[in-house]
């Protein structure tokens, strides 16, 4: 009897102990929340945001390549202000001051956006000026991001996110009409002539407005599952249809598809100034899965039927190896301008981990592989966040045979350390 009582008492204690611990923990948490130093007032809403960044970059060049180490100071600012009821001014600019070892210093200004917006009522909006128009559900490659052509000016990171941020918009007129579950957007972008310019203070309209273009974008949410975005794009010589569709697969996974296709020349023909227009399509399919501990992993397949196939790519490489490198060089230059795939097929694995084991430390990285020539590129980033500044370390590695997609990069490895201060 005594033993039973003891067992019962022990059992009761075991049951009560966690409850008591929980109450103690709750009390400690509530006391913590009572602390007066935590801010209770909301910060003032500002019309502008900006940051300054200082970075140093080191490179390990391939044999015979010249990749100087670099230092960079960047100033980045955005103003988005109301001029009057319904009227809005947006200015977005970045100045990169570069210093390379053994070369002259250079400053490159990128006027990303400068436009006037007018919204006469809640359902209608019109914008005029240089606007950064971006579409696409994909992470590493966006065939429906039609205005990405000629948009890159000063590349400071291989991160796909950074490439989207630091680019110049096109001069255009944009109108948008909204209804409760959808929207129709129409964009007209004129040809403004001239050649792309690498002059540091040039507006570079020759790169962003090389010919007349228009784009129609329509979306309507029929249900949680059926909510695609449709695009119709035209430039001289081609009309392309596009689609972006993403869907929630379960509580932790999002799947997406991006498509753009229509009558267009192949990239190889374009690079040689020829026209071989036929129906060609590009598409991306992927999924992002997120764990309970804030690690997100994306796997993406990328395909462009306008890019060089295995035989064409091999032929270009062979010609270059035998001294006739002009076609190869022109093709690669076009890829850079269009942010296009070098060959038909690629795959990408992207992971980002917020608060990676330690609060305030974010890790990100990708591995992208050319599925035609088997070359690959890896990129890793560690970012330490504080309330007003970030310290970021990046590493980029290119692997592959000479003249392959990634093997041809002048640097085998690159490192960058950057300190960013937000205002």
């Amino acid at each position: 009897m005594h033993a039973m009582t003891l067992r019962a008492a022990t059992f009761a204690l075991l049951c009560v102990a966690p409850v008591a611990q929980a109450i103690d923990a709750d009390d400690a948490a509530l006391q913590l929340a009572d602390q007066p130093q935590a801010p209770s007032a909301a910060p003032e809403q500002r019309d502008w945001r900006g940051y300054a960044e200082f970075a140093v970059g080191l490179a390990q060049p391939r044999a015979e390549a010249d990749v100087p180490d670099s230092a960079r100071l960047s100033l980045d600012a955005v103003l988005d202000t109301a001029l009057a009821p319904g009227w809005r001014l947006v200015l977005s600019d970045r100045l990169d001051g570069w210093a390379w070892s053994g070369q002259a210093d250079r400053a490159i200004n990128t006027l990303r956006e400068a436009y006037l917006g007018w919204q006469p009522d809640a359902q209608t909006a019109v914008d005029l000026g240089r606007v950064n128009v971006r579409y696409g559900a994909g992470l590493g490659y966006n065939p429906s991001d039609f205005f990405k052509v000629g948009a890159l000016r000063s590349v400071t990171s291989a991160d796909p996110q950074a490439l989207r941020e630091n680019r110049q918009g096109s001069v255009l007129l944009r109108g948008q009409r909204l209804w409760d579950s959808g929207a129709l957007t129409a964009i007209w972008s004129p040809e403004l002539g001239g050649e792309p310019s690498d002059d540091g203070i040039s507006l570079n309209l020759g790169a962003t407005n090389p010919f007349e273009r228009w784009l129609l974008v329509a979306s309507h949410r029929f249900s949680e599952l059926i909510d695609p975005q449709w695009l119709l794009y035209s430039e001289p010589g081609s009309v392309l249809a596009g689609m972006n569709w993403s869907v929630l697969l379960n509580d932790a996974m999002v799947g997406y598809v991006e498509f753009a296709g229509g009558r267009q020349s192949s990239l190889l023909a374009r690079s040689q100034g020829e026209d071989d227009a036929a129906f060609r399509a590009a598409w991306v399919a992927g999924a992002t899965w997120t764990t309970a501990f804030k690690l997100s992993v994306t796997l993406e397949y990328q395909r462009d039927n306008a890019a060089a196939d295995a035989d064409q790519w091999k032929a270009l490489q062979n010609d270059a190896q035998q001294g006739a490198a002009a076609d190869y060089a022109r093709y690669r230059q076009l890829l850079g301008t269009r942010q296009a795939l070098a060959t038909r097929e690629s795959a990408m694995l992207y992971a980002s981990w917020q608060d990676a084991g330690v609060a305030g430390l974010d890790l990100a990285g990708y591995w992208r592989r050319d599925l035609v020539d088997a070359s690959w590129q890896a990129w890793l980033q560690a970012r330490w966040r504080t309330s007003v500044a970030d310290l970021t370390a990046q590493w980029l590695y290119n692997h592959g045979e000479a003249l392959s997609n990634y093997g041809a990069a002048p640097a085998r490895q690159r490192w960058q350390l950057a300190l960013t201060h937000y205002f």
Binding site: L32, P43, Q45, Q123, A137, R164
Partner: protein, 254 residues
């Protein structure tokens, strides 16, 4: 015998009359937390780890009452820290969209993709629990509230009606006198405790006395604490047509 039977019937009738309807209690507590029409507020999240203050985020929240469903569509705009200023999150039913004004990217995210420390996306937007959960009255208890005052509370057991909600099961304590929520424990499908929340610092906001602070304690690590403070309540109507993916790049607070 007849007298005894009559008393029993009277007692039973009184008990039936006195037993509150759990679903109605839950709806009443929703009405304490959330206004019944479109509104805006500022939410400040302060995160503590092992007793030390970590990150602080401030969000402007715009919540639009949906016609018919009694649920809300919410738009969140990050105000601080400066790194995140201007970023937007839209929640409409199970649709969650995130917009970054720097990259112009508007992407669909999953409920698991948390943007703010320990607080789930579902914690920072306006949610009426009565729409997503079936409530059962589990009893009455005397408990200590978030302001360390003794309170007599109904304990409700909430079961998710659909599998796609943030929490599978919730234990919910609310004041027997006025249906004000006091405390909640949120559980995963596995049965594990995800977090404990205390609703406290009640003040009159938009005509009703509401909690202006929620203290969230992590279920696995009680030293991980997030405080959510609610300020600047105001009636604010955001047009329905603005609460969609294609408007996010254009959204600007009025």
């Amino acid at each position: 015998m007849q007298l005894w039977l009559g008393s029993l019937i009277l007692l039973a009738a009184a008990a039936v009359q006195a037993a509150p309807d759990a679903q109605s209690l839950l709806a009443a507590s929703d009405a304490v937390r959330n206004p019944d029409q479109s509104f805006g507020l500022t939410t400040t999240l302060i995160e503590y780890r092992n007793g030390k203050q970590q990150e602080t985020s401030t969000l402007a929240v715009y919540s639009r009452a949906e016609r018919g469903s009694g649920q809300f569509r919410s738009l969140l705009r990050f105000e601080a820290p400066a790194r995140d200023a201007g970023k937007l999150m839209l929640k409409s039913g199970n649709d969650l969209w995130f917009h970054d004004p720097s990259s112009k990217a508007t992407i669909r995210i999953s409920p698991q993709q948390r943007l703010l420390g320990q607080a789930a996306n579902g914690d920072v937007v306006t949610v009426n629990l009565a729409g997503d959960y079936s409530a059962r009255l589990a009893g009455e208890e005397d408990i200590i509230d978030g302001d360390r005052q003794p309170r007599h509370a109904y304990k409700l057991e909430l079961a998710a009606r659909a599998p796609d909600v943030t929490y599978h099961r919730i234990e919910y304590w609310l004041d027997t006198g006025n249906s004000r929520p006091i405390k909640a424990r949120f559980y995963a499908q596995s049965g594990g405790l995800l977090k404990t929340a205390y609703y406290r610092r009640y003040q009159s906001q938009l005509g009703v006395v509401r909690p202006t602070e929620t203290v969230i304690i992590d279920g696995l690590d009680p030293n991980w604490v997030t405080v959510m403070r609610f300020d600047d309540y105001a009636w604010r109507d955001v047009p329905e047509s603005w609460l969609q993916r294609d408007y996010l790049p254009r959204f600007k607070p009025q």
